[in-house]
């Protein structure tokens, strides 16, 4: 663990139904970074996010902000990790604003109709950051996929947690909204949040992430900047593809090209 690491894991392992989904993952991540978590289907990316947030029982240890996760009460964990699951699921047609306000739940604001000034300000900030202010009164079920994903992001921002864990926030979005979501997360990282994003889009990962973690069969096989983590060798070994590589406007471009 380096001195600047905000989130660190040692020997993290998860076994589900007798199968080792995650094995011996150790990592150390700093605040203000956008980290992309990539890997083939079934590599254990979602499980790693869950294990980091303490949502699945795991072996090994996680430290967040200097504290052992296992010793933190549920509510304190909830204040340190804002978790965005896949699919932006909402079961009832609630107003978008109430969904965003649920981000204040870990801070004791369990009723969106009774927010303190401080919580209301946090909700407004989050809605501004995700650009959903004008959607506040609309029911989430009436929103388009892109709008719903931004509301989900706003809910996550409203927690104002030092760590954001986002599971495929760009999946099922059109290209414009994918860029939109990644830029919003990038902005959050630039303000000091540690943002971990699971994605299948290596292009987005290479372009927006400071660090890329590559998972394969439940093991962390590479971590580092895009150039090393997504090297030709790694692409061949882990993803079994060849990629077209280039640079555009001084940013890395990776386009999956052919299977090996």
């Amino acid at each position: 663990m380096t001195a600047s690491a905000f989130l660190a894991a040692q020997g993290l392992g998860v076994t589900l139904a007798g199968r080792a989904v995650l094995q011996d993952v150790s990592l150390s991540l700093s605040s203000g970074h956008l980290v992309a978590l990539v890997g083939p289907n079934g590599a254990g990316k979602t499980t790693l996010l869950r294990a980091l947030a303490g949502l699945v029982p795991a072996d090994g240890s996680v430290h967040v902000g200097g504290d052992a996760l296992s010793l933190l009460p549920l509510r304190e964990r909830a204040r340190r990790f804002a978790y965005l699951p896949q699919g932006h699921l909402v079961h009832w047609p609630l107003p978008a604003r109430d969904i965003v306000a649920l981000g204040r739940y870990p801070h004791g604001a369990t009723d969106p109709a009774r927010l303190t000034q401080k919580d209301a300000e946090a909700v407004l900030r989050a809605m501004q950051a995700a650009d959903v202010v004008e959607l506040g009164d609309r029911r989430v079920t009436e929103l388009s996929g892109g709008e719903r994903s931004r509301v989900a992001l706003a809910r996550v921002f409203a927690v104002e947690a030092p760590v954001i864990l986002a599971d495929e926030p760009t999946s099922s979005l059109d290209p414009r909204h994918q860029l939109d979501v990644m830029k919003t997360l990038r902005a959050a990282a630039d303000k000091g949040t540690l943002v971990i994003v699971v994605t299948h889009d290596l292009g987005l990962a290479a372009r927006f992430a400071d660090t890329i973690l590559v998972l394969s069969d439940g093991r962390l096989v590479s971590q580092g900047a895009a150039a090393e983590a997504l090297s030709e060798q790694m692409m061949a070994d882990v993803f079994r593809i060849r990629a077209y590589r280039a640079e555009y406007q001084r940013e890395a471009v990776i386009v999956p090209w052919a299977e090996i």
Partner: protein, 347 residues
Amino acid sequence: MSIQHVMTTVDVAGRRRAGVMSALVVLVVLLLLASLGIGPVRLSPPTVLDALFGGGSDVQQVIVREIRLPRAILGFAIGAMLGLSGAALQGLLRNPLAAPSLFGAPQSAAFGAVLIIALGLADVRSYALPVAAIMAAFASVFVLLAIAGRNAGLLILILAGLAISSLAGAATALVMNLSSNPFVVLEIAFWLLGSLEDRSFRHVMLALPFIAVGAIILLSQRNAFRALSLGEETAQSLGVDVARLRLLVISGVALGVGGAVAVSGTIGFIGLVAPHLMRPLIGHDPARLLVPSALTGAALLLAADIAVRIIPSTSDIKVGVLTSIIGVPFFLYLIMRERRALGGGVA
């Protein structure tokens, strides 16, 4: 949108909810008065109030305070508990078709109580009855949620509920079948139809403590239902202990429904109907639906219990029969409305 705007939109919704709540309270009070006034001897509301607080003739006092008051109290408490249980289960499972009666909870509670009666372990006025009913109701909801697992779809819940209520019904039939005493069989059969007739304060004391504890447990979890709108995993990430919540809801529903069934028999579909009547008025927030659904449940059962006294018929219509006759078509209507979700398969 400014902070002020955020607050005012909430105010508008809040005022609307407050209006609905006041209307419900007025309705329930009127129905309580009507319940005290209607019967073989009709009493006007002023007479009822007078008799209730010690005025009027001795006969009027006996009628209002000893015959009709326990019945009205039970109608209110049991109806409220059923409405609350329905709203709580719908919140827990994020599913508009969840209700105690669809999950076999009252049927199982009835089996527990029937078993006690048939075995001659206790008479119908002993605390053994609600305790057995509560244990059976707890077991049924627990088994149902265990079978359904996390994030269960509509189809699994309904099928498992059907299986459990059929099993409870079959077990009850078996007990009646094997029972050698025809008087006991008749007693059980009438009681299974669900009724509030001829209930005394002894019955109120039998049911009310359990209903009250169950209601307090369910209401104490209301905000967790709101977090659950985002799914179990996200709720957990927001600090909700989902496993504990499930156990508390099962316990609350079992205590309330078990306590209710032990004195009234099975009264179905109020838990399903009440939250649906409130959603268009209150909104879909599962936390805010709890209390209005309870009041609606109380109003529904009080109204049904008044109706069975008014509807002219050769023999008494049992209130449980009436709620099912009205409730089942409503259930069919809901199935039609939720057809898409149901057709979506198991997931």
